[in-house]
Amino acid sequence: MHNPQLNADGELQHLLTLEGLPAEIIGRILDTAVPFVSIAERDVKKVPLLRGKAVFNLFFENSTRTRTTFEIAAKRLSADVINLNIGVSSTAKGETLLDTIDNLVAMNADMFIVRHGQSGAPHLIAQHLSATNRSHIHVVNAGDGRHGHPTQGLLDLFTIRHYKRYFRELTVAIVGDVLHSRVARSLIHGLTTLGTPEVRVIGPQTLLPTAVEALGVHVFHDMRQGLAGCDVVVMLRLQSERMKGSLLPSAGEFFKHYGLTVEKLKLAKPDAIVMHPGPMNRGVEIDSAVADGTHSVILPQVTFGIAVRMAVMSILAGN
């Protein structure tokens, strides 16, 4: 299938999804991110790779954390960053998504970081730019509906590689609300592309999408079985509106079956790492003792996230 995020030479033009993204490009992004981690530890945390470039943070859906990490990443690359919370501006006045894009292009945008509540919105923007001969402007998907969150997927891969080195030897479990999770979809695509032999999803039937096995994962409903022998445990955020209703009876019952506790974590390998994309619901999907415990790499994920986003923007800008 045509891959709209690569240009005719097979180079990264946009970052829309990890599905179909070649392993070499993923590897290059992760390698590029390594030196960016140390930049953050310097006194002067800036490099001039995106100097003079205008990066627009286009957030059609509320987000503080992701927007902030993109903003920091762009600023560390010396780009000019413009934050737009579209949720409360133009679309509320009736402007269409593509009109908004055209207006920002007229302001000479070089890159759009897009968060949207609808699956496929970044694809639509990229396709619109290409159809109107403006493909030099890059689109980075910062989360679209349930579809994808590729920079989160990449930072998860970076974290796993940092602690575990070889994907080809790993067993990774992703636990919780996979159905609504763009984080899970992106991570699954990344892990399978890099040759991870065993990717598991763990959750009740109500929170697992139909035919999820087709993505190359093994399905577990029993968390204890699913965690057995895992090197990496990725806990997903459960949105509060889904804690009570026809998907789940209560947050308490969810925690009982699928919350990660110290006791359940013992079923994984002794050196297993625990990840979470944040923000965490302590006592719903994860117990504080685990979140703050020795296996947790949740805060390093945040640090790595900035480096990975710097790498993505830097590669897109042609460095």
């Binding site: 299938m1 045509h2 709209p4 829309l16 599905e19 269409t96 998504l97 593509l98 949207h116 609808q118 699956s119 496929g120 919105a121 694809h123 639509l124 396709q127 619109h128 679209d144 509906g145 349930r146 579809h147 994808g148 763009r182 979809r185 999408p209 139909t210 035919a211 999820v212 087709a214 993505l215």
Partner: protein, 415 residues
């Protein structure tokens, strides 16, 4: 000349006088032609009958008008069409239906047969004045794609229709299971993160409808079948002698959920494009007669409403001008004779709509389509008369182009 209803398929001349077919083969005595259409190398067949084409009037004139869509109809060889009641306001009052019929007649293009709303405002709680609506010109009653969640109301609507012999058209879909869904519940929707509609939303609704048909004896036409299991249920129901018929939209004959690719909003259709197994079953059902006919399910949508993320984009595709070439392609792929292809878009829909049309016996209305089966053309916005340019087939080369369309003996289209 091919007339599927009469099994006629050979080289012959068609003689038309006073709006009717005067003779086939031999000229009537003292024949003098005002005009001769040279159809050498072309196919002459009954004008196409489309069992579902949205004309968007009244209420959605910014998407399409009777002028634009009836011109599209005859350009596609369609001489009669049924339009669903989901206009604004819906076709739930005789005055609206009379106005629509009057406007269509004054344009002197394809015949328009409105399908009346089954419930007032398509809201699913009060049944409409089906008698008055029938007198105004409605040929059947339906909810279009609007929900009718209350089974008791559905039962009563069917009982009432059965009492007077009205036909009811229903699109089988459980409203609760379909809530919020925009794509088939399978691997593609899972990959793309699109809210999904399971295939059994169709079979559960079909089972309920079949029970009510058994209870009331009403003739129900099932619109837009989409699943493998739906076709199987339909086959069993027909075998059991239930008075039911069904159709499939031309898109579902050719496409499946994989064609959504990366969120192609032109593939956002109702019902959703389903899996390859479903498509194969629909095609097999068409071949063996379980599925009676093919319709265009023509739904012109303005560009702005399609230039949105997949789920927010308005569903539907323009298809009046694609019905013939896409049906020919289906027949070619299935290695069926041309007459079988034309049957599904002429004689079969005439039967389901209860029209004396779709055939060319002497005395029949001279609604005729003359087309070149081998003329190739590329589907492009400029090639379409319809105001809607929204189709998943954009850019595709198709063979089969209408050269002349006659309605009531008058040439209304020359291509």
């Amino acid at each position: 000349m091919i007339d599927p209803r009469h099994g006629f398929d050979r080289k012959a001349s068609l003689y038309v006088a006073a709006g009717k077919v005067a003779a086939v083969g031999e000229a009537p005595g003292g024949w003098h032609a005002n005009r001769v259409l040279d159809a050498a190398g072309l196919v002459v067949c009954p004008g196409l009958i489309d069992s579902s084409a949205r004309l968007r009037e009244p209420g959605f004139e910014y998407k399409a008008t009777l002028e634009s869509e009836l011109a599209a109809a005859v350009a596609g060889g369609v001489t009669s069409l049924a339009c669903p009641p989901d206009t604004d306001p819906p076709l739930d009052e005789p005055g609206l239906v009379q106005m629509l019929k009057h406007r269509a007649r004054s344009l002197n293009q394809a015949h328009v047969y409105p399908i009346g709303a089954l419930t007032v405002g398509l809201k699913g709680d009060t049944i409409t004045e089906m008698g008055e609506l029938t007198e105004a010109g409605c040929i059947a009653f339906s909810q279009a794609d609007a929900a009718l969640a209350d089974t008791q109301v559905l039962l009563r609507a069917l009982q009432y229709a059965a009492t007077f012999g009205y036909r009811v058209w229903l699109r089988p879909q459980d409203v609760h299971l379909a809530r919020g869904g925009v794509a088939h519940d399978g691997e593609v929707a899972t990959r793309l993160g699109l809210p999904a509609i399971p295939g059994f939303a169709e079979t559960i609704a079909l089972d309920a409808i079949f029970e009510l048909v058994r209870a009331t004896g009403v003739h129900v036409h099932l619109a837009r079948l989409s699943t493998h299991d739906g076709v199987a249920r339909m086959r069993a129901a027909k075998k059991a002698g239930l008075p039911v018929t069904c159709d499939v939209a031309i898109h579902h004959v050719h496409l499946c959920d994989v064609d959504i690719g990366w969120f192609n909003a032109h593939c956002h259709l109702v019902p959703p494009l389903r899996g390859t197994r479903d498509r194969a079953a629909l095609r097999a059902g068409l071949v063996d007669g379980t599925v009676d006919l093919i319709c265009s399910d023509h739904t012109p949508v303005d560009d702005d409403a399609k230039q949105l993320p997949f789920a927010e984009a308005e569903p539907g595709a323009t298809a009046l001008e694609l019905l013939l070439p896409l049906t020919l392609q289906w027949a070619k792929e299935e290695k069926l004779p041309l007459s079988a292809a034309l049957d599904r878009i002429t004689a079969a829909p005439a039967r389901v709509l209860g029209l004396d049309a779709g055939h060319l016996a002497p005395g029949a209305d001279a609604d005729v389509c003359v087309f070149d089966p081998d003329l190739h053309w590329v589907v492009a916005p400029s090639a379409l008369r319809s105001q809607g340019k929204n189709t998943p087939f954009l850019g595709l080369e198709l063979s089969g182009k209408v050269r002349y369309t006659l309605v009531g003996g008058q040439v209304v289209h020359e291509g």
